[in-house]
């Protein structure tokens, strides 16, 4: 919403400066977004007078002028045809920045003649489009006076954000009312005087709504004005509309726009000679359409309020008028409409038709239902003043909707909700200044003015009082402490995430944060396919772009794509992770927190030969690190080779606690997936399902079990077993560990070998077993017995035998 300072002052008698007005608006909740003060913007430009204008000796179209300026008499070379003796001009001194041509002036020689500054055109000063010649200031202008002031172009323009709760501030008078209440001046808005009709209105109006939809347009008022002369608006009106960014159209239309901004009261004018039969406000009919003033055709339906005549729908009530019945310069008989349209229906219709008009903006937020007839009177008066004509009586269909509300208001509410002590007298004065009527019963009974649909209850009145008092009065108070030392605040799930992040970063991975959505095609590669995504409700209806159309079932597509983007920039040795949500359905429980990561590995060579490219076991370690940091007991973790299909079928695994509980997956990303993504492999990835980790059992004490520091030396023995080449290492290790649980403290697999000396289809796996005696040193016989037990256990579990 924009208005000018002079416009405001038609409603507010004030001595306040522009800066004070802006500050007061901000303090009252009218958030000023932009102030354009032409006097400030154009302060470099002052009035000069051309004393002499001689032809340039070297150029026919240039003139060498002597110009009286605030800086003395200067020689200025000028190309404008209207540079003549005696003209009052807009003088720009050397050093001034001329906005319209984006140039800072310097002393110049033009075809050999020195020129000190410039005389500007309207376009050069961004005061208009005129560039035919230089500005011709009025003769009364004084040398040295500001150009903006001399041209009457110094009216500052204020733009502010109208919040949806304050439809009254869509009119300048609403702004003035707030400022007056805030103590900045006196509200001097005049109530429109009725214009006496000189004949009965010949144009019939009907409201024709089915039962239950009467509120679509409860009141429709209008009158005819005969014998008007339409045409361009007078300068004051055209200037005013231009100042706030509107294009003047014709006097009749401009008057409706004036009221839209002056009083937040949209109106519509019809060329009465183009209307056929009665004007009727009704619901639209299927198949109806009309051509609107924006030169587009719109289909209407039965949810919309249309204004129609016998020929059918003409326009959408409260949104846009029709082209066929619009006013033109030829219009002589005008029918003026002032109506009240239901905000919600207007909002729905406007959204459906995607029409953003000033009228819709106001009706959908709620116009003042008490200002329908006064608005009509006011428009009539201005039209008569500008266009002449003879007005009819006013005709009203329906009745003003009852918007009266009374709020029971204990004045102590202000203190209860804001902590500010406001004297009840002051509270009453503020409410009164804002148009409320206060009856000081106990509690107070406060009548809400018709232009404030946002006021429902006590809290709203508290805000009215507090915002006028000013939020600067809020005390700064500390919340009551609940405990001398606060208790832990994070849930175990939250703590897990933090721990997993820090553990992964400590392993050298970089934490990324990527979109929760991803390319639908990529998403389909990391779940059970596109149908699954749709069935789970994970497809967005209005994605920001087509490549962000689905909620991600896994974060891997985003991370893998990010790896490739980095590789394309030359960063082809990189590990990324993210600890964040993934989505398996649109239900709350479908959202799972996953620690996922991906690696592309091309390590730099090092003289120590210590570099090692990442592989499946690097990401297995990543996954285990995340799971362990998140609190799972990893000594019971098992690995199975049944990872989801986006992993390489032979080089991937699932980390499990028992057969049913998967805590993570890891492996090489399936080459087919990489190909579909245009990614150069190999890429290794993991996912740790943090939410699946069983909660730690609450413990009664923080005491740790006593340390068992055994005195007896452990004994180490090596075993090499020949087993089937397909045997998972896990099976062998499990067999060895289980052979003699009391003594076997540690089993470490130190060699896996296939080749000479090992039969085809077999492999050799060598383990070092640590035996920890507890009560007495082991005898050779005892060690032999354990060794035999181990060999027997391996034979039983894996059919493997000691390597000869």
């Amino acid at each position: 919403m924009k208005f000018t300072l002079a416009w405001l002052k038609e409603h507010l008698e004030t001595a306040a400066s522009l800066a004070e007005i802006v500050d007061a608006m901000i303090a009252a909740g009218l958030e000023v977004e932009h102030v354009d003060d032409p006097a400030e913007r154009l302060k470099a430009f002052t009035i000069g007078e051309v004393l002499e204008a001689e032809k340039h000796p070297e150029a026919d179209k240039l003139r060498v002028c002597k110009v009286a300026t605030k800086d003395g008499v200067l020689q200025i070379v000028c190309g404008a045809p209207n540079a003549r003796q005696g003209l009052k001009v807009a003088y720009a001194p050397v050093g001034a920045y001329v906005p319209g041509i984006d140039v800072t002036l310097t002393k110049a020689k033009i075809r050999g003649v020195e020129s000190h500054g410039m005389m500007c055109s309207a376009r050069e000063l961004e005061l208009g489009d005129d560039h035919e010649g230089i500005i011709e200031a009025p003769n009364s202008a004084k040398i040295g006076e500001s150009v903006a002031a001399a041209l009457g172009a110094d009216d500052p323009i204020i733009e502010f954000e109208v919040t949806p709760n304050r439809p009254d501030t869509n009119g300048v008078n609403g702004v003035a009312r707030d400022l007056a209440a805030a103590g900045l001046g006196r509200l001097i808005t005049k109530a429109p005087a009725p214009v006496k009709g000189e004949f009965p209105c010949p144009q019939a109006i009907r409201l024709d709504f089915p039962k239950g939809a009467e509120d679509a347009c409860p009141m429709f008022a209008g009158r005819l004005v005969r014998g008007v002369r339409n045409g361009p608006s007078p300068k004051w009106l055209a200037d005013r509309l231009r100042a706030i960014g509107l294009r003047p159209i014709s006097a009749l239309v401009d008057v409706t726009n004036l009221l839209t901004y002056d009083r937040a009261r949209p109106l519509h004018v019809y060329d009465a000679d183009k209307l056929k039969g009665d004007i009727c406000a009704r619901l639209g009919r299927k198949g109806e359409s009309f051509r609107a003033l924006d030169n587009k055709n719109y289909e209407v339906d039965e949810t919309m309020t249309v204004i129609a005549d016998d020929s059918g729908a003409l326009g959408l009530g409260g949104i846009i008028g029709g082209e066929t019945t619009g006013c033109t310069d030829e219009t002589v008989n005008v029918f003026i409409e002032a109506a009240y349209f239901d905000p919600l229906r207007t909002a729905r219709t406007g959204r459906k038709c995607a029409i953003h008009s000033d009228a819709r903006h106001r009706f959908e937020r709620g116009v003042d239902p008490a200002f329908v007839a006064p608005g009509l009177e006011m428009a009539t008066r201005i039209i008569l003043d500008i266009c002449g004509g003879t007005p009819s009586d006013i005709l009203v269909a329906g009745a003003r909707p009852d918007a009266s509300r009374t709020v029971a208001f204990p004045s102590s509410e202000v203190k209860r909700l804001t902590g500010i002590d406001v004297d009840p007298q002051r509270s009453e004065a503020i409410l009164t200044a804002l148009g409320f009527k206060v009856s000081r019963a106990d509690p107070w009974l406060v009548d809400v003015p018709s232009w404030r649909p946002d006021i429902e209850g006590k809290a709203d009145l508290v805000e009215e009082i507090a915002r006028v008092v000013g939020f600067a009065a809020l005390p700064a108070e500390t919340l009551t402490a609940r405990a001398a030392v606060e208790t832990p605040k994070l849930t175990p799930a939250q703590t897990r995430r933090s721990a997993a992040r820090r553990a992964l970063a400590a392993r050298g991975l970089l934490e990324a944060v990527t979109w929760s959505f991803t390319d639908e095609r990529l998403a389909a590669l990391f779940c059970d396919g596109p149908n699954w995504l749709a069935a789970q409700g994970l497809i967005l209806a209005n994605p920001i772009s087509s490549d962000l159309g689905a909620m991600r079932p896994s974060m891997l597509p985003n991370l893998v794509a990010a790896l490739q983007r980095n590789a394309d920039r030359g960063r082809d040795d990189l590990a990324l992770f993210e600890v964040a949500p993934t989505y398996a359905s649109d239900r709350p429980e479908g959202q799972q927190t996953v620690a996922g990561g991906a690696r592309i590995s091309n390590p730099k060579r090092h003289w120590s030969k210590s570099e090692r490219a990442a592989d499946v076991f690097t990401v297995k370690a990543d996954a285990i690190a995340a799971i362990e940091a998140a609190g799972a007991k990893i000594d019971q973790l098992q690995t199975s080779a049944d990872a989801p299909p986006w992993y390489h079928p032979g080089r991937s695994g699932v980390l499990r606690l028992g057969p049913k509980l998967a805590l993570g997956a890891f492996g090489e990303v399936h080459p087919r997936v990489l190909k579909a993504m245009g990614v150069d492999g190999p890429v290794f990835a993991f996912e740790a399902f943090l939410d699946a980790i069983p909660a730690a059992k609450p413990r009664a004490t923080k005491t740790k079990p006593a340390l068992e520091a055994l005195e007896l030396l452990p004994v180490r023995r090596d075993f090499a077993f020949v087993v089937d080449e397909t045997l998972p290492a896990d099976a062998l290790l499990k067999a060895v560990r289980g052979a003699e649980k009391k003594l076997v403290a540690e089993v470490s697999l130190f060699d896996v070998y296939q080749g000479k000396g090992v039969p085809d289809g077999k492999k050799s796996m060598a383990v070092e077993v640590t035996l920890q005696p507890r009560e007495k040193t082991l005898t050779d016989e005892e060690i032999d017995a354990v060794s035999k037990a181990i060999v027997a256990a391996v034979l039983k579990a894996t059919r493997g035998s000691l390597r000869a």
């Binding site: 959204r351 700064a476 009551t480 962000l548 920039r569």
Partner: protein, 362 residues
């Protein structure tokens, strides 16, 4: 006795002359070995008369100790020399570079979020969460956005495809639905913050379709807007790690609070116009950082709470923006680009866990 002196002189000379451990060992054997001269003399003591034996034995023992000490000293010296000689051959180039260990980094959003949690937990706030995919009721209706009301258009909402029953889910446009979920399941007093992902269908230089918000909610029987101001000022001081902060509360409109306010903080720009640094807490300029207000009576009612009995405040602010302001990160869009150069530059060491005892940041 001059015989003993001679023996001593000769033996010590032999020890002194030994150049190697082996030569020294020879000297030791020659003197103190089983058949060494000193040992032989010891054996011969038995043949002396008892009164002579005592004196001669004492003298021999003194000599024996002297020789043994001389051998030990010489042995130490030879061993030191041998070690020095060996070490002199073992020189390596210690200027060779160490093998690089990869440096992991924590994303600035995580760091800022954990800083925020550290501050609010010290003020007694629990940390609550809710789903990103929400329904209309929790995201709008319960928060006093009537259906079709223009206030809904303040939020550019991502919707999911309509279901068979006509309902459609959406991506939460703010963290406020968790206010509803909390108030409907917990009795006051409530004091929570709600960090999380939020989504709006908007993308330009300063907007991304996904961003992070932290919401605050306090419901009890006494908390008013003064507490809101005190809490947020305390938060800003702690978060920006500054001694004082200038704030300005301005009336604003949010459907779910009444009265509603936006909070600005004072700042100034130091240095060049476009690349300068933003100093929070001082200066004449104002920057909006959050929206807030007293929880709307309709919202309390929608959650089954009596607005005449319970009251409290709510606020919401952008975590990404807070991180940008504190750490001088210029562009919001970079947060989500997963560019390794950016993460390494703006990210944090995993050992830097935000903690009020040590100060939030290094």
């Amino acid at each position: 006795m001059s015989d003993l002196e001679t023996l001593e002189r000769e033996t010590l000379a032999k020890i002194a002359a030994a150049e190697t451990i082996a030569a020294l060992e020879d000297a030791r054997v020659a003197a103190l070995g089983k058949k060494g001269v000193v040992s032989e003399r010891m054996k011969a003591l038995g043949q002396l008369a008892p009164e002579e034996r005592k004196a001669a034995g004492a003298a021999l023992n003194v000599l024996k100790d002297k020789i043994a000490a001389a051998i030990d000293a010489k042995k130490q010296k030879l061993e030191d020399a041998a070690l020095d000689e060996r070490l002199a051959t073992e020189k390596i180039d210690v200027t060779l570079p160490i093998a690089p260990s990869p440096r992991g980094r924590i994303h600035p959003v995580t760091q800022a979020m954990e800083e925020i949690v550290a501050i609010f937990s010290a003020m007694g706030f629990d940390v609550a969460e809710g789903p990103d995919i929400e329904d209309d009721f929790h995201n709008f209706t319960a928060l006093n956005f009537p259906p079709d009301h223009p206030a809904r258009e303040m939020h550019d909402t991502f919707f999911f495809n309509e279901k068979e029953d006509g309902g459609r889910m959406l991506l939460r446009t703010h963290t406020s639905p968790v206010q509803i979920r909390t108030m409907m399941t917990r009795k006051p007093p409530i004091r929570i913050i709600i960090p999380g992902r939020t989504f709006r269908c908007d993308s330009d230089q300063t907007h991304t379709p996904m961003f992070h918000q932290v919401e605050g909610l306090v419901i009890d029987r006494e908390t008013h807007m003064g507490h809101l101001k005190g809490t947020l000022e305390a938060f800003c001081k702690a978060y920006f790690e500054i001694d004082s902060v200038k704030t300005r509360f301005r009336p604003h409109f949010f459907p779910f609070t009444e009265p509603s306010a936006e909070m600005d903080i004072g700042y100034e720009r130091v240095g060049p116009k476009d690349s300068g640094e933003i100093r929070i807490g001082q200066g004449a300029k104002w920057m909006e950082i959050l929206g807030s207000g007293m929880v709307h009576p309709n919202v309390l009612r929608n959650c089954g709470l009596d607005p005449d009995e319970y009251q409290g405040f709510a606020f919401g602010m952008g975590i990404d923006r807070l991180a940008m302001l504190k750490y001088g990160i210029p562009d919001l869009r970079d947060f989500f680009a997963a560019d390794a150069r950016w993460i390494e530059h703006y990210g944090f060491d995993p050992l830097d866990m935000p903690n009020l005892a040590t100060g939030l940041s290094r």
